[in-house]
Amino acid sequence: MDYEAVIGLEVHIQLKTRTKVFCGCATDAGTGPNTRVCPVCLGHPGVLPVMNETAVRKTILAGLMIGCEISRFSKWDRKNYFYPDMPKNYQVSQYDLPLCLGGRVGKVGITRIHLEEDVAKSFHFETTSGVDFNRAGTPLMEIVSEPDMRTAQEAFDYMTALKEIMISGGISDCDMEKGQLRCDCNVSVRPVGQKQFGQKIEIKNMNSISGVKRALEYEIPRQINAVSKGEKLQQETRRWDDDAGKTFLMRTKEYAHDYRYFPEPDLMPVVVDDALLTEIRGLLPELPEAKRQRFVQQYGLPEYDAGVLVASAALANFFEKAAGKNAKAAANWIMTVSDITASPIQPEHIAELVAVIEAGQISGKQGKDVFAEMLAAGKSPAVIIKEKGLAQVSDTGAIEAFAEQALAANPKFVADYKAGNLAAVNALVGQVMKLSKGKANPQLVNGILLRKLQGS
C-alpha cells in the first residue's frame, strides 16, 4: 500500500521591534545574561503588561501580506504552565480570538496568526542551571498552517516562502541562528486515497528550515514503516535530534499540558478600526503577482522573465535597480546566474554594462568577460574595461588611419571589391581589426572602409 504524509506547521517568528511586547526593554541580545530585563519581564510581584503597538501593527501587516482576514476584535489570554524560562509561569498569548485568521502561502492554507511573548533561555551547567531573561518578552508571532503539505520538500518550500515574505515586509529578520524563526511540526501518515487523517504526532526542536526537512525525511518513513507493520501510533510529542538525525519520544498524550487558557485581565482587547487597517494597508509591500504584472507592463518584459525575477523580493529589487534603459537586456544578464543577489555584483553595474555594450564601447563578446569579472569581484564595468584595456576604438581618426594603411597594403582586395566582389570588404575589415589589435569598433570600421572604397 502507498502512504502519504499530512503535514501542518506552527512557525514562530520573532518580530523586529525596538522594544519587548509588554515592557520597554530593548529586544537586542544585550551585553550579557540578564542585561535586557526589568521588573515587568522578570515577572516581579505587582507588575503589569503594556501592549507594544508596533508589535500588533507588524502582526497585522504580516497577516495582510499572506491574505489573512484581520480580526477587528481580538484579545489576550494567559497560557498556564510551569517552566523556569517563564517568568510568570504563564505566557500572555492569544487563544480563541487571534489577530489574523485564514490566508495562504502558495498552496498552503493559513489557519491563524497570533501574537505572544517569547520565553527566556535556560542554560544547564555541571550542577546548576541558569536562566537568561533577555529574550523573555520579545514579541513572537505564531503562524499556524493548515495540514496542506504532503512531503518534506513542500514543508521546506513553504517555510522558505514564508521567511522570504516576512523579511521583505520588514516583519522579522528571520535569522535562524538567532532563533528568530522556529518551527513545530505536526505530521501524520495515511494510505493514499484515504480522506481521514492518521494519528498526529508533533515534532519539536528543529532549528532551521533544512532541519525541518531532515526531521520530516526521517519521521515520515518511520511512521509509514510502523503503520504498514500494523502498529497503531499514539498521539505524542517527539524531539528532533539533528546530530543523531532521529526523532525521540518527549511525552505521550497522558502527559500533555492542560494550559488552562483564560482571558488576560491585565490587558484590554485589541480593537482594529478602519483607520488603522487603512494605514497598515498603505504600508503593504507589493505582492508577487502584482509585481509580476507591473514588470511586464513597466519594463516590457516577457511573462517568463517577470515570473523568474519576482520569485524573490531580493531578486526583484535587484532587477529594478539594474533595469536602466534596456530592462530586457538587464534581465537577460541577471537570469544567466542562479542567484545574482548572492554575488558581490552591484545592480547599477548591470545597467552600466548594458549601456557600454549598446554604445559600442565593447563588444557583446567582451561583455561576457566583463560580466564574469563583475560576478567574481564586484567591480564596475568601467574599472574592468580599463584594467583589461578592453575599450573598443571608436575614435574615427584612428580608424581612418588604420583603414588607409589596410587599403594601401592590400590592393588585391580593393581591386576585387571594385570588380564587384563586395565580400572583399570583410577581408579588409579583418585587416583593420588586426592593425587595431582587435579594439576597433567593427561597425565603424566597416562604414569607413565602404565610404573609402566607394569614394575612391
Binding site: P39, L42, G43, H44, P45, G46, V47, L48, P49, V50, M51, R78, N80, F82, P84, P87, K88, N89, Y90, S129, V131, D258, R260, Y261, F262, P265, D266, L267, M268
Partner: protein, 477 residues
C-alpha cells in the same frame, strides 16, 4: 492634644502654620506605635530612622496634599528598598525594586511612609488570621479580629498608629475591616487607581484604596492616588475631580436593596444601619426601594473568578527568581517544595480551586458561567442606578468576631464579604463609614456608587458622618 489622634485635615492645618513640624508628627506616631503595637500587631515592618528622614525632607508649608502626614502601607504594595511579603512566607527576604504607582503619588504629595501593615496572605481572607506573621488585633476588643484582608491597615488607623493607610480591596478587603474597626474605608471604581505595583490577587477585581478617620480625609487620599497611569492598561484616562463632598444629601435618591437585609443578620447591626438610613432621610435624602436580584450568586461567582485569576497570578512565586526557595532533586520538586512550604492553607485552597475552575472540561461550567453571571450582576447595578444616585447597605452582617472563631470553616469566612463582593464584580465604587455600635463594637454603613462617581458616595458619607459623632469615638485599649 496628642498629634497621633488627629486627622489629615487637622494635622495639615498645624503643619502649614508651622505649629508643629513634620518630624514632631512622625515622632509622635512612632511613639504611639512603640506604645501600642505590641498589643495590636498591626505593623509587619518599619524603619523609624527612614520615616524621620522622610519627614525632615518635606516642607509642609509648600508641599503637596499629604506633606508631612504619616501613612501606613499594606504589605501588598511595592515600595523600592522595602520588604514586600504579602503576609506570606514565600516572599520572606524579598525586597521590592520599584515603587507602586500609588506609592509614587504618595511620595509626590509629601507623605511620610511609616511602615508596612499585616494582612491575610496574598489578601485572601477576612480576618488577617491568614497572615504568615501572626494575628492583628482589633483595637476595640483585642480578642477580636480587625477584619481582612487589610486588617493591619485598618487596625493602625483605628488605633491611632497612623493618620491614614492604604489597603487593597478585591471583595471587601478595605470596607469590611474599616467597618469592624470603626474607620472610613474606600474602594474606588475599578480603573480609577493604578494597580501598578499592587501584588495581584485577582486582577479584574483588585483596587487600592485608603483607610482614614474621616470621609474628608478619604477624599484627600483619593485625590492623591487616583488618575491614569500608562503602566496599568486597565486604569482609565478620566480627569480626577477635586471631590467636593460638602453638598449634603438633599434631593439625592438613595437605593435600599432588599437583598441586603438577610436572615441571620446581627440584629443590632441591622438596627444601626436602618437608623443610619433614617438619619440620611432626615437630612433630605429620598430613600427608594431597589432590587439587585443576582446578589445571591455573588459569593459563588467571586470564588470562581477570583481564585481562577489568583491561580495564575500566584504561579510566579516558584523559588526561581526571588523569594524563598526550597531545594529539590529537580525543578519540579523545587517548585512543589517551595510552594508547599511557602504558601499557607487558605492560599493553597484557593489556588487549587482556581486551577480546577480553569481545567479542561470544567472551564465552561465554572469560569465561563461565572463570567456570565458577573455580567448579570453588573447589569443589576446599572438598572438600579437608573432609579437612584447611590445605594446604602450594611457593610457586614455582623461585628468583628473572636480570633479563631471561624478559622475552621472557610465557607463561613467567605460569607463575611457577602455585602461587599458584588461591588468588585460590578467594578463600581463603595465606601464604609462608621454608623454605630453593636456589643460595643463598630458597625459600618456601606454606600455604593456608580462607576467613577466617588464624589457622590463621599458626599453622602460625609453628610452622614458630620451629622453623627460615631467617627469621634476612639477605642480605649
Amino acid at each position: 492634644m496628642s498629634l497621633h489622634t488627629l486627622t489629615i485635615a487637622g494635622l495639615r492645618a498645624k503643619l502649614q502654620t508651622g505649629e508643629v513640624s513634620a518630624q514632631e508628627v512622625t515622632q509622635a506616631l512612632l511613639d504611639r506605635i512603640q506604645a501600642v503595637d505590641g498589643q495590636l500587631k498591626a505593623y509587619l515592618w518599619m524603619n523609624p530612622e527612614d520615616a524621620l528622614a522622610q519627614a525632615a525632607a518635606v516642607d509642609p508649608k509648600n508641599g503637596g496634599l499629604l506633606a508631612g502626614i504619616p501613612i501606613a502601607i499594606k504589605d501588598v504594595l511595592n515600595v523600592a528598598g522595602q520588604p514586600c511579603t504579602c503576609g506570606s512566607k514565600i516572599l520572606k527576604g524579598f525586597t521590592s525594586v520599584y515603587d507602586a504607582h500609588v506609592i509614587t503619588r504618595l511620595k509626590q504629595a509629601g507623605a511620610v511612609l511609616l511602615g508596612r501593615t499585616n494582612m491575610d496572605e496574598f489578601a485572601m481572607g477576612s480576618s488577617t488570621e491568614n497572615s504568615s506573621w501572626g494575628v492583628t488585633h482589633n483595637p476595640w476588643d483585642l480578642e477580636r479580629i480587625p477584619g481582612g484582608s487589610s486588617g493591619g491597615s485598618a487596625a493602625c488607623v483605628a488605633g491611632d498608629e497612623a493618620i491614614a493607610s492604604l489597603g487593597s480591596d478585591t471583595g471587601g478587603s478595605i470596607r469590611q475591616p474599616a467597618a469592624v474597626t470603626g474607620c472610613v474605608g474606600l474602594k474606588p471604581t475599578y480603573g480609577r487607581v493604578s494597580r501598578y505595583g499592587l501584588v495581584a490577587f485577582a486582577s479584574s477585581l483588585d483596587q487600592v484604596g485608603p483607610f482614614t478617620k474621616t470621609v474628608a480625609d478619604a477624599a484627600t487620599m483619593l485625590r492623591v492616588i487616583a488618575g491614569h497611569d500608562k503602566r496599568d492598561s486597565t486604569s482609565v484616562p478620566k480627569p480626577v475631580p477635586e471631590y467636593a463632598i460638602a453638598g449634603g444629601v438633599k434631593g439625592l435618591r438613595l437605593g435600599l436593596p432588599k437583598e441586603y437585609f438577610i436572615a441571620g443578620m446581627d440584629r443590632e447591626v441591622e438596627a444601626a444601619v436602618r437608623a443610619a438610613i433614617k438619619q440620611l432621610e432626615s437630612l433630605g435624602a429620598e430613600i427608594v426601594e431597589i432590587s439587585l436580584p443576582h446578589t445571591e450568586y455573588a459569593v459563588a461567582v467571586y470564588y470562581l473568578i477570583a481564585t481562577a485569576e489568583a491561580s495564575a497570578n500566584l504561579a510566579r512565586f516558584d523559588g526561581v527568581r526571588y523569594g524563598a526557595r526550597v531545594r529539590g532533586e529537580d525543578v519540579t520538586e523545587m517548585y512543589a517544595k517551595t510552594r508547599g512550604a511557602g504558601f499557607g492553607p487558605e492560599v493553597k485552597r484557593r489556588i487549587i480551586l482556581g486551577t480546577y475552575a480553569l481545567s479542561a472540561g470544567y472551564y465552561d461550567a465554572y469560569y465561563l458561567r461565572a463570567q456570565k453571571v458577573r455580567t448579570l450582576i453588573r447589569q443589576d447595578f446599572e438598572k438600579a442606578f437608573q432609579k437612584c444616585d447611590a445605594i446604602v447597605t450594611p457593610t457586614t452582617a455582623e461585628v468583628a468576631f473572636k480570633i479563631g472563631e471561624k478559622s475552621a470553616d472557610p465557607l463561613k469566612m467567605y460569607l463575611c464579604d457577602i455585602f461587599t463582593i458584588s461591588c468588585n464584580l460590578a467594578g463600581n465604587c463603595g465606601v464604609s463609614v462608621p454608623c454605630g455600635f453593636s456589643q460595643k463594637l463598630p458597625v459600618g454603613l456601606q454606600i455604593l456608587g456608580k462607576a467613577f462617581d466617588e464624589e457622590t458616595i463621599l458626599r453622602v458619607a460625609h453628610a452622614y458622618e458630620q451629622s453623627t459623632d460615631w467617627h469621634k469615638q476612639r477605642p480605649a485599649f
